[in-house]
């Protein structure tokens, strides 16, 4: 272990934390400084994620895959906690970085003024997500989940307002329950196997004695329920629409990744623990996942059709995307997984972008609405209050047309219509499903088509209502420059991954096959350097 590159992997965790901690020491009135700081930090994270993903994509010198292992405290796995940057986690890391950066830029227009300590919380949230993605330890995963959730509570409640608080209440209650289940599951697993390291667990699964196996499965089921709650699977995801639609736009955009972290963990664990090398446990729970996923998709479809505004539709789109992924994981197979990963990235970006766009479109709409009133008419005025609070900064022209275009792009991404990445992902999944030619595959295909259809119907309805139907009396649409940059950043990412679909898809496919052969991962972690 030598050179700064070795420590790169922990950068996405330590850097935002250190900056956030430092910000707490800075006067809240120095907003520009804080904004600049977090912008720099997020950019740095993006760069780090870029380096890591580049490394995963190009592979090791001898042609194998790279799983960079970082033994915290210099304690080798499974005794210490390790961070593992493999194909999957770096992919998610990069996604988070892009999303985070864009949401941050968006928020610079005005949201960072809606409540105190925005930047610190934001960075901490990003740190939590990064940690959850990188960690190779189950309990540490719990801890990072909690960081992520604690910060997301803060972000959901950012700006206060009755609607937010009501939604936040349910969100917290549900997630606390999930955390308890998580703890129970982890504890049981420890009680049976004596380890918390995921790779070590994967190595031990096959050797679990027969009389312990039932209990082990119960433990994983409990754990699975916890993750399913986080990934908003039906019937445990009812909190998601109300929460996401109540949260402030940049928060919602970042939250779009949160449910995917749940999916990520499920993917990781099924890949590691229930792989064919898991002996009698191989393939455990996949059917359940598939059923859950389908139910979630159905619920999302109904919800998106019933949605009355774009934000809510976006929230249900997040659910649909979660459901799709769960069903695909349940379906299994390298082909499906590869396309699903591609879809994961695309749909997350699309939903996030829609959250941002919708906020701009709909903010003028219910000017008297509770949420906004509470945000910007603070009974207890801030000492650093200023008049520009409600202004989104520099305004760019031709807002309506640009926003209309943005809505269309988001809708294409979410509904999976060509020629954007949403379509490619969906087509890839259908290809794999049709190829598998089993009943489950066909059911998922049907649900995929149905969900696309529902998204088209709903998003055109709501999009038309938001962009084309504008009251004469309504305030003119304005888009701040920061907002425009943020939105176009996300959409640009969508476009890029559509144009360069082949390399991205190849990466995803390769990741899928890496996931289905966990021996490499286990080997990399358990032979990692350490004391």
């Amino acid at each position: 272990m030598s050179g700064w590159m070795e420590h790169l992997i922990i950068g996405p965790i330590v850097l935002p934390l250190a900056v956030a901690a430092g910000m707490l020491l800075i006067d809240e009135r120095r907003r520009i400084l804080k904004g600049a700081l977090s912008l720099i930090t997020m950019t740095a994270i993006l760069v780090m994620a870029g380096i890591l993903i580049h490394e995963s994509a190009t592979g090791a010198a001898d042609g194998g895959d790279v799983a960079r292992v970082y033994a915290l405290g210099d304690w080798a796995a499974p005794y210490g906690i390790v961070l593992v940057a493999d194909r999957l986690s770096t992919l998610m890391l990069a996604l988070t970085a892009v999303l985070g950066l864009c949401a941050l830029i968006f928020s610079l227009a005005r949201w960072d003024r809606a409540g105190p300590r925005f930047h610190a919380l934001f960075l901490l949230l990003v740190m939590g997500v990064n940690g959850a993605l990188l960690t190779g330890d189950l309990f540490n995963l719990f801890v990072f989940f909690e960081i992520m959730l604690a910060a997301s509570y803060g972000m959901v409640l950012h700006g206060s307002g009755e609607k937010r608080i009501k939604a936040g209440l349910g969100y917290i209650a549900v997630n606390l329950t999930a955390s308890l289940l998580f703890l129970i599951g982890v504890a049981l697993i420890y009680g049976l196997t004596g380890t918390l390291n995921m790779a070590d667990l994967a190595a031990r699964v096959a050797d679990i004695p027969g009389q312990d196996r039932g209990l082990f499965h119960v433990a994983v089921a409990v754990l699975g329920v916890a993750f399913l709650i986080k990934s908003a699977a039906w019937p445990m995801g009812f909190w998601l629409p109300s929460t996401y639609s109540a949260a402030s736009a940049p928060a919602a955009a970042v939250l779009a990744i949160l449910s995917k972290v749940g999916v990520y963990v499920i993917l990781r664990l099924t890949g590691l623990v229930f792989s064919p090398m898991a002996g009698a446990s191989a393939g455990f729970g996949l059917e359940g996942l598939a059923v859950m996923g389908l139910a979630t998709m159905l619920f999302g479809v109904l919800g998106i059709l019933a949605a009355k505004d774009l934000v809510r539709a976006a929230a249900f789109a997040v659910m649909i995307s979660s459901g799709t992924l769960l069903a695909m994981i349940g379906h299994g197979g390298t082909g499906s997984l590869g396309a699903s990963l591609y879809y994961l990235v695309g749909s997350t970006l699309g939903c996030a972008a829609l959250f941002l766009v919708a906020e701009v479109l709909e903010r003028g709409r219910d000017a008297g609405g509770d949420a906004h009133k509470a945000v910007f008419d603070d009974e207890y005025r801030d000492p650093f209050d200023d008049t520009e609070r409600n202004e989104p900064g520099i305004i760019i022209p031709a807002a309506v047309a640009a926003l209309g275009g943005a809505v269309i792009l988001c809708a294409l991404m979410i509904a999976g219509l060509p020629p954007l990445a949403g379509f490619i992902g969906k087509a890839g999944m259908i290809v794999a499903l049709v190829a598998s030619a089993d009943a489950l595959g066909w059911t998922i295909t049907a649900m995929l088509a149905l969900s696309s259809l529902a998204a088209v119907i709903s998003l055109t309805r709501l999009g038309v209502a938001a962009v084309w139907v504008r009251d004469e009396s309504a305030p003119p649409l304005v888009v701040g420059a920061w907002e425009a940059i943020g939105i176009s950043g996300l959409l640009g990412a969508c476009l890029l991954m559509s144009i360069f679909a082949e390399p991205v898809l190849a990466y995803a496919d390769h990741t899928a096959s890496w996931l289905t052969t966990p021996a490499d991962y286990v080997g990399a972690v358990l032979t990692g350097a350490g004391r």
């Binding site: 309990f139 801890v143 909690e146 604690a150 509570y153 409640l157 206060s160 307002g161 009755e162 608080i165 009501k166 936040g168 209440l169 349910g170 917290i172 209650a173 606390l176 329950t177 955390s179 308890l180 703890l183 129970i184 982890v186 504890a187 049981l188 420890y190 009680g191 918390l196 509470a374």
Partner: protein, 113 residues
Amino acid sequence: MEIVLALAIGVLAASGTWLLLRPRTFQVIMGLCLLSYAVNIFIFAMGRLRIAAAPVTQSGMETLAPYDDPTPQALVLTAIVISFALTALFLVVVLAARGATGSDHVDGEEPKA
């Protein structure tokens, strides 16, 4: 000993679950507290039960055999802290909800008749 502790976990968990499913925010907070007691003991129990075997090593006896499993204890400590923090947060959100909506129902409004 084991059976008593198992029953204790069961009673705490059942009471907690019951409260968690109640409509008033205060009940839910209490439920979460009780549940986290139950879960803490549960995690702890995963290290099996030992009396008078606190995991503080004596010199010359650096093996696991004479001590209780320290790992679950460390996990419980972390869990205690986190659940404490989140309980506090939940409490504050409950208060804020009560302030904003005037109701202490978990939905932020009284159920319609």
